[in-house]
Amino acid sequence: MHQTPPASALGRIPRVNVEIRGLNMAYGEAWHRQQVITDLDLDVPAGQMTVVIGPSGCGKSTLVNIIAGFEKPDSGIVRVDGQPVTGPGHDRMVVFQETALMPWLTVRQNVSFGPQLRGEMDRATLRAEADRLIDKVGLREFKDKYPLQLSGGMQRRAELARAMINQPKLMIMDEPFRGLDAMSRELMQEFFLKLFEENRRTNLFVTSEIDEAIFLADRLVVLSTRPATVRSVIEIDLPRPRTYAMLASEKAFDYKREALDILHQEAMKSFKMGSGQSDFLEAYAKRAQ
């Protein structure tokens, strides 16, 4: 897979289907054993934004780790473009919850990290490609800064550039905008959506924010409470390019109601089970009004 990225990546993004079949995962030994994912089937269709939403602590991050190849499931299979996933690989890039930029590398060094490691490009090409992507995420002035010198939103954009330079077939976003303040969060959602609508790279986006989910999604996958399984798939039929105004439409409101109903039921279930997610319950009850 030594594919030299073109001067402009547009139109050359590989489109792949991701299939997840019969996933089961448990942690712990013997009587401490806890099922985290149970019989989970999920499709991430090529060129679409599939958003996974579920109660906090339901096993979303475990799902991400399995798809990325960081963890092996107890049973079940993940196929990318028909090929079973056996470990981490640069065909699947994860943007993590907290920033995972190496603090000892500058923005440009971070962005160049992957191709440099694999020795794919000569120095000049790599530099040009890194600079192009850094420009694209609007960090031109910050190329030579270290991650800790950037704001939270800038860090996430640098991370997007670091992922994109590897030309992944699948982008996995694990609650990437969590921890940002409301303002930067909205800006990042819009920015990220623009990127996606430009190149239509197959995308799996994990979140626990309903508005974010509907704003971004082509398909909204609602997970159950732990152990996670797919409760419902909602096709989000809102026009693209999306705008925030669309969230106020009747259609969007219906999607939100539908998803929240399921999430609410799930939250009630886990609440009754005594897993103590009352804060979550409260938050969603407020939002549903």
């Binding site: 990325a68 690989g89 640069h90 699947r92 994860v94 993590f96 992957g114 490691l117 270290y146 590897n166």
Partner: protein, 283 residues
């Protein structure tokens, strides 16, 4: 840009340039504090002859003016500088050996499970033994006094270095490792490109703490071993000798000399850390 420019930043109080120090209020406050402290000490030491009342403890210490006088005399004697040289040599020998052995050992403990399972338990049993408890064994182990002192000094820093490196390497954010793995990093890459730079801050913390301990140990070891050569046995022996000779001023000269030597050594480490970790200069 809401980013502080690095030229105005401090790193553990260390200034990036002398010019920066001279315009820095922290630097001047430090100078004033030192002068104020010396004046207070002078007053307390002379309280008996000035007011007829002796201040407890500090009243028994010779005043700084007398100490400076003793110092002025001592600096012309080669034995004093010989003491500096000998102690510094021992500290550096033990310290550098501790880094050379301790950093790879700590990293190996951190990255290899089998290595850790085998070597960590004996390490943990040996670690609480104070370096000075090693002095008799060390005198038996090594043919010369000099080597015994260096060995005890080495031990003083070694355990601290290893514990810091181990802790630092074990607490590297797993996401860095995962991100690198996704991008195609081999085990070799993970070690050199993630674990080593990620452990750097702890390596320098270990070095700074270890440097302090080597000074403590070297001085005590010199006092115990009697110094070795007749020309002068290091600053520890210098103090001991002054005590035996009944010169209170010289004792204080020796003590402050050690303070200055230790400060110079930790400044050197801070400077190295500052140079080696540009990403830590931001605050």
């Amino acid at each position: 840009m809401a980013v502080a420019s690095p030229s105005r930043s401090t790193f553990g109080g260390f200034r990036s340039s002398l010019g920066g120090a001279l315009t820095n209020p922290t630097f001047w406050r430090g100078i004033v504090a030192l002068i104020g402290f010396a004046l207070f000490w002078e007053l307390c030491s002379r309280s008996k002859q000035m007011f007829g009342v002796q201040v407890p403890w500090i009243g028994m210490v010779p005043p700084p003016s007398d100490v400076l006088g003793a110092w002025a005399k001592v600096v012309t004697e080669p034995g004093y500088w010989q003491s500096w040289y000998l102690s510094l040599n021992r500290v550096l020998a033990g310290f550098i050996a501790a880094q050379i052995v301790g950093i790879p050992f700590g990293l190996a403990l951190a990255v290899n499970r089998y290595f850790r399972d085998i070597f960590f338990p004996p390490f943990e049993i040996l670690r609480p033994i104070p370096p000075l408890a090693w002095v008799p064994a060390s005198l038996i182990f090594w043919p010369t006094n000099e080597m015994s002192i260096a060995f005890v000094t080495f031990l003083g820093a070694f355990f601290t270095v290893v514990i810091n490196v181990l802790g630092g390497a074990r607490t590297i954010n797993v996401q860095y490792l995962r991100a690198a793995q996704s991008m195609g990093a081999s085990q070799w890459d993970l070690f050199w490109k993630i674990i080593l730079p990620g452990t750097m801050p702890s390596i320098f913390t270990g070095a700074a703490v270890g440097m302090g301990i080597t000074w403590e140990v070297v001085v005590a070891a010199e006092m115990i071993s009697g110094g070795g050569t007749r020309k002068g046995g290091g600053l520890g022996f210098f103090i001991w000798n002054s005590y035996m000779g009944g010169s209170l001023e010289q004792i204080v000269v020796g003590m402050i000399s050690i303070g200055i030597a230790g400060y110079l050594c930790s400044s050197a480490i801070r400077y190295l850390g500052f140079a080696a970790m540009p990403w830590r200069r931001l605050f």
